[in-house]
Structure formats: C-alpha cells, structure tokens
C-alpha cells in the first residue's frame, strides 16, 4: 500500500472507530430525520406524498440531518491536535480531505439506510422508485460530503462553528438540492416511477461532485496553514 493510501485508510478507520465507540453523530442524525418525518406527517396532514412534494420532504430532511454530522466532522482534529499531527506527517494534506469526505459519505449512507425506509413507510404508496433512488442518493451524498468537508474545515476554528456551517453550506448546496430533487421527483411520481430527465439530473449531480471535489482537493492544503 502506498503511503498516501495507508494514510487515507488510517484516517478513515480512525474516524469510523471513534464514531462507533462514541456514537456522537449518527444517532443524532437518524433521530433528527425520524422526528422531522413525524412532524411533516402531522404538519402536512397527509399519509401519502408523491412527486415534487415527496422529493422536497425527503431531501430537506436529509440535508438538515447531514448538517449535524458536518458540524462535528473536524472537532476531534481541532480539539485533540489532529491537525498538527497531519501537518507533521510526510503525507499530502489533501489525504485528510479525501478521508473526511469518505467518512461523511459513509455516515450519510448509514443515515439513509434508516431514514429512507422510514420515509417510505410514512409517505409512499409503493417502493418502485427506491431502487433507482440509490444512484441519486450516492451522487448527492458525494457532493454534500465534498462541500460539507470543505466548509467544516474552514468553520472548525471558529467559536460560531454551529452557526457558520449552515450559513455558508446551505447556499452552496442549493444547486445540488435542485438536481437531487429534480432526479427524485419522477421516481416518486404518482402512479409509479418514471425516468423523465432522470439522466440529465444525474449528470448535473455528477458535475457538481466533480467541481467541489476538485475545489476541495485544490484548496484544502491552504486551509490547513496557520
């Protein structure tokens, strides 16, 4: 294994081990999403949703649940000296960016394993659109993780971290959310899934992932400077 891959695997394994041991992010994210679905269910007074309304409820909930995890992504590095440890090691600092993106994608996937079935039980008449929805979830998770990691690393040194992350992140992910809901809407259409412009929205999601992945890779080194 190359030093870069070894460092990537070490940082990712460290994050997952610490999360499994302390359960600081995932349970909060899952609980938030379930509670939000309950609020939507009674707030909208609907037992069934479809199309754009269903897509909006799903993505608004997942996005705000994700913010909880993004807020805590670099707390250990900040409070326990992980940034210095990375800066002293003979590795490319963007490895930390890659590992944090991967960790966040895994957190989001775990969240969706809980949240999406509950969403389906609460609001959907059929499960036909859930198969292709996996592709939308994966691409949106990648973009959200890349942007979230970038913003979290900038905000972690601020006392107003909990405020800064949503304030900066949410405007940046508007295009991602438009594409994610655009791709999800036909999958959850009344009468069964359709694939109208599904491919186009997936390409938009992929383009967003590429842009923010490259931006993060390019600027992360500078963000770790003093």
């Amino acid at each position: 294994m190359t030093p870069t891959r070894a460092a990537f695997a070490a940082i990712l394994a460290k994050d997952l081990r610490a999360e499994l041991r302390t359960l600081q992010s995932l349970p909060a994210m899952a609980l938030f999403s379930v509670t939000t679905f309950v609020i939507f269910r009674f707030g909208l007074d609907r037992t069934s949703l479809s199309g754009s309304l269903a897509a909006g409820v799903l993505w608004a909930t997942l996005l705000f649940a994700a913010v909880l995890g993004i807020n805590r992504l670099f707390v250990a590095e900040r409070e326990e000296g992980g940034f210095d440890a990375i800066r002293l090691a003979p590795i490319d600092r963007s490895v930390l960016f890659g590992a944090k993106v991967a960790a966040l994608v895994i957190y989001l996937a775990a969240l969706e394993l809980v949240a999406v079935p509950i969403f389906a039980v609460f609001f959907l008449d059929g499960a036909g659109g859930l198969g292709p929805l996996i592709a939308v979830l994966l691409l949106a998770d990648l973009g959200l993780a890349a942007t979230g990691t970038l913003i979290s690393s900038m905000a972690v040194n601020s006392r107003a971290r909990d405020l800064l992350v949503p304030l900066v992140l949410l405007p940046l992910v508007v295009p991602l959310m438009i594409a994610a809901t655009g791709a999800t809407e036909p999958l959850l259409a009344l009468g069964g899934p359709s694939y109208h412009r599904f491919g186009t929205w997936l390409m938009v999601l992929g383009l967003y992932d590429l842009i923010f992945g490259l931006v993060g890779y390019a600027v992360f080194d500078f963000l770790l400077e003093d």
Binding site: A6, I11, A18, G81
Partner: protein, 221 residues
Amino acid sequence: MPPSQEKAEPAIAVAGLRRDYGDRPALDGVGFELTAGASLVVLGPNGAGKTTLLRVLATLLRPSGGEVRVLGCSLPSEAWKLRGRIGYLGHEPLLYRDLSGRENLRFQARLHGLERAAAEARIEELLRAVEMERRADERVAELSAGMRQRLSICRCVLHRPQLLLLDEPDSNLDVEGRELARELIGPGAGTRVVVTHDPERHLPEADQVLRLGIGEAAVVS
C-alpha cells in the same frame, strides 16, 4: 576540527526571525545556530515566544520575517521536505481521546509510513520504555495527564526523528516518568530544542542556551 566538520551545516540556523500575531510581534530578531547532535535549552518568561519559536521550527507556524533553516531546509518554502523528520512534543498530546494509546500510536505509525510489523515492534519497544504496556489498550480519555504525556513522548519519537522539538517535556510527569522519558528524549536522543521553565533540571545537559525576553532580541550563551 576536521575540514568536513568545519563546513557542516548547522541543524538549525535562524537569523532575524520575526513572527507576528496580527499587529503584535511574538518573536522579533531572534537568531541562533545549533549544531547537529547538540541540545539547545530555551528559557524565558511567559509570553516571550518560546512555544511560537518551537512551532515555527516544527513548520506548524509560518515565520513573518527572517531566515530559518532546519535540517538543511529553508522555511517556509521547503517545509514539505521536513515532514516526518521532526519529533514535536507540544502542550497538546496530539492523541485522540476516544482511541486507546496503542491505537493512537498505530495511527501515527501509518501516517509516517512505517511498515505494519516494524511499527508494532517499535510501539511495543516504546510502551515498554515508558512502562505503559498494561495501560496501552485503555482509551486516552481514561488516562491521567502523566500517562498521556508518556504516550505523547512515544508518539514524538515513534518515527525516529532527526530533530526533537520539546515544549515543557516534563510537564505532568512524576519523578519516575521523568527518568523514563529521559531515555527517549534526553541528551542522548540527538539534536534537541527544549523549551522549559525548569532550568535547574535542563541547563546541566544543555550545549547552548537561548534566552527570550518580551520585546528583546534573543541572547545566546
């Protein structure tokens, strides 16, 4: 002195070093040279810039002015060449509280590119040296400050660095801990810069002394 040694570049060469925090200078006009294998003890009152100097030498802070060369690398432009060659022991232990001591050392070993078998052997050797073998599988959060300092010393020397930068290395250590630490980071450990508030303990083993004062240039004795 043989000609080859006369021409040897010092391990650290600092001239006119300045480091500002906003408008406030933390270091101003600091200069000294340290030969390879020697120990430099840095003294000074609180706020004199001792920790700042150490962090500049460790490439963790960029100098605001002056010339700094460490192990033949000019800072900050060649800082990347220095990574992995320095052992830094700061105020923070640089250990993750939710991992065990052994897990932390394995993590550091992988960051520094140590092969798995070699890393395990080195970790065992260091844990034995600081008498932490039996506590090494406990979470760092559950250890005392002194135990964390012992682990942090292991972390600092794990990758066999060429230069040790030690900020108050005795802090939180009891008498036994200090003696154990001396084996790993004492005068026999190679080129060292030691920041201390305990001159009685560290001056006898110093080859050079650097005194920093607030608003004053450094004096080397």
